[in-house]
């Protein structure tokens, strides 16, 4: 096919748009940056991540660590002495990878962090472009494997929410059922993360999207429609769950530090 002569090139930021086109990428940039900075800081703290039966989602599952939630005891001896340790380091890469490779986030951060493009019909800063056609962004195709991990995290966080309903009496050591504000925070957290994770585009493909004859598979068709329903609001779930998972860590942290009181409802 012969090449075509185009109209005229546009400089970075050049556009005829009259709306405040830069506000959306700026908001995304600030929102993501705030979360990345906070979550990195929280992961490095290695302290105040539990309170009573509550465990911060940034540290769950606690594979090695000092709290009573740790699955395999304290920091292992083989951990290099020069390397800072936090239980969060062992697990945060998985949900971070899921979000980093998520189709919604990709489109959002390509615009907000890389100006590729800054927004629709707005000039770009670079002439070269590889897209997701070659390394490194071709690695985004690994998203479904991060989904498998993220799904496991939903199960674990649901178990954490269940454990958040069993409070230990400091005097007798007996545990009894109860609901605190923290319990609700953990439940909302797993619901929002579940809605985000189960609306994943890769899951939508895996449960049914890959078939052209879904009517022959009624179970898959139902699952496909359920995932599609969540998928239609994927961006909303992505933001709500991002905010709430950060807030859940803040809640547990401030209760642990004695700044907030965890009020009991039951």
């Amino acid at each position: 096919m012969s090449s075509i002569q185009l109209f005229r090139p546009r400089a970075f930021g050049e556009t005829s748009r009259r709306d405040i086109w830069w506000i959306q990428p700026l908001a995304v940039f600030l929102g993501f940056s705030a979360f990345i900075v906070y979550s990195t800081w929280a992961a490095f703290q290695n302290a105040h991540y539990t309170f009573g039966p509550y465990l911060s989602p940034f540290y769950s599952p606690e594979i090695f660590g000092d709290s009573h939630h740790a699955l395999f005891g304290p920091k292992p001896g083989w951990w290099p002495g020069w390397l800072p340790f936090s239980p969060a380091f062992l697990i945060l890469w998985a949900p971070a990878g899921f979000r980093f490779t998520c189709y919604y986030y990709r489109g959002a951060y390509y615009k907000a962090f890389w100006a590729d493009p800054p927004n629709c019909a707005v000039g770009e800063p670079r002439k070269s472009y590889w897209g997701e056609n070659s390394f490194p962004l071709i690695m985004q195709n690994i998203h479904r494997y991060f989904f498998y991990l993220a799904f496991a995290f939903i199960v674990i966080l649901a178990y954490d929410a269940w454990k958040g309903m069993w409070f230990e009496d400091p005097a007798t050591g007996a545990t009894s059922f109860g609901i605190g504000i923290g319990t609700l925070v953990l439940i909302v957290n797993v619901l929002l993360l579940g809605s985000y994770t189960l609306g994943c585009h890769s899951l939508r493909h895996l449960v049914g999207g890959r078939f052209d004859h879904l009517s022959a598979r009624p179970g898959r068709m139902k699952a496909y429609h359920c995932v599609s329903c969540l998928n239609r609001k994927h961006m909303l779930w992505a933001w709500l769950s991002l905010f709430w998972v950060g807030f859940t860590d803040v809640y547990v942290r401030l209760c642990s530090m004695g700044i907030w009181t965890d009020w009991r409802i039951l």
Partner: protein, 246 residues
């Protein structure tokens, strides 16, 4: 209502400039009405492509205040008229004259895509049987009116000019309509990955935002095709299963 000022691109392939026109705007007018009125009153040689004036032919695609839109479906009452309304041709295609662009590249692309290849007929009379539920998904894609606004806004074409390696959102929708059809037996995944450049799409969703038929281009066509390409070329477990399964 006082006259409204329009800045309309005048020129051709060799270049051009925005020229100012003023015309009266009355209730119910769309941008195409205003352009026709300017044509009648003060710019008889203004070139504009249009046909149905009902948002179904896809002819009057242009950029209005920087956004790719159909002129016949953009109401004047929805635009701020306290400043000039800017109308220019689509940016992703060569200019012919004024608001008219040469969109023939799209027709050339369509010619090289694999056609619909139905399986053998299900009945002796040469007809097929399939469930409505299996075509619900592809019916959305058939709403496309080929206005090429999605092609225009896609930065891979508009800014990076990958016309040789990338077919653009319109033809991913077309490919999805065929690839997901319950009767179709053709295999397009190799083409989608290599010749059609689906990997260039970085999911900005601009195509979805400008579609006048509200086709969910990115979520329902491009991403599902990307996932099928992942199945074939990037998922090691699926690749292994295919080797074992033969």
């Amino acid at each position: 209502m006082p006259p409204v000022t329009f800045n309309i691109w005048r020129g051709g392939a060799e270049g051009g400039e925005f020229k100012e026109y003023r015309t009266e705007v009355t209730e119910g007018m769309v941008v195409l009405d205003a352009v026709h009125q300017i044509q009648a009153e003060s710019a008889n040689d203004l070139a504009v492509r249009w046909n149905c004036k009902a948002g179904k032919c896809g002819s009057c695609s242009a950029e209005i205040n920087g956004k790719p839109r159909l002129m016949c479906m953009t109401r004047m009452s929805d635009l701020p008229v306290n400043q000039p309304v800017r109308i220019e041709p689509m940016q992703a295609f060569p200019s012919i004259k004024d608001l008219v662009t040469d969109v023939s590249w799209n027709f050339e692309v369509k010619k090289r895509l694999k056609r619909f290849k139905p399986r053998k007929p299900d009945a002796p009379d040469g007809s097929w049987r399939f469930a409505q539920a299996d075509t619900d998904r592809v019916q959305e894609f058939r709403k496309c009116i080929e206005c090429f606004l999605c092609q225009d806004v896609c930065h891979v074409l508009r800014d990076h000019h990958k016309h040789e390696e990338f077919i653009g959102p319109r033809f991913f929708v077309y490919s999805a309509a065929l690839e997901m059809h319950p009767l179709d037996e053709e295999d397009r995944l190799e083409d989608l990955k290599r010749a059609n450049g689906i990997g260039y799409c970085n999911i900005t969703k601009c195509c979805t935002k400008v579609c006048p038929e509200h086709i969910t281009i990115t979520d329902n066509a491009i991403i599902p095709l990307k996932e099928r390409v992942v199945d074939r070329f990037y998922d090691p477990v699926r690749m292994l299963l295919r080797v074992i399964g033969g």
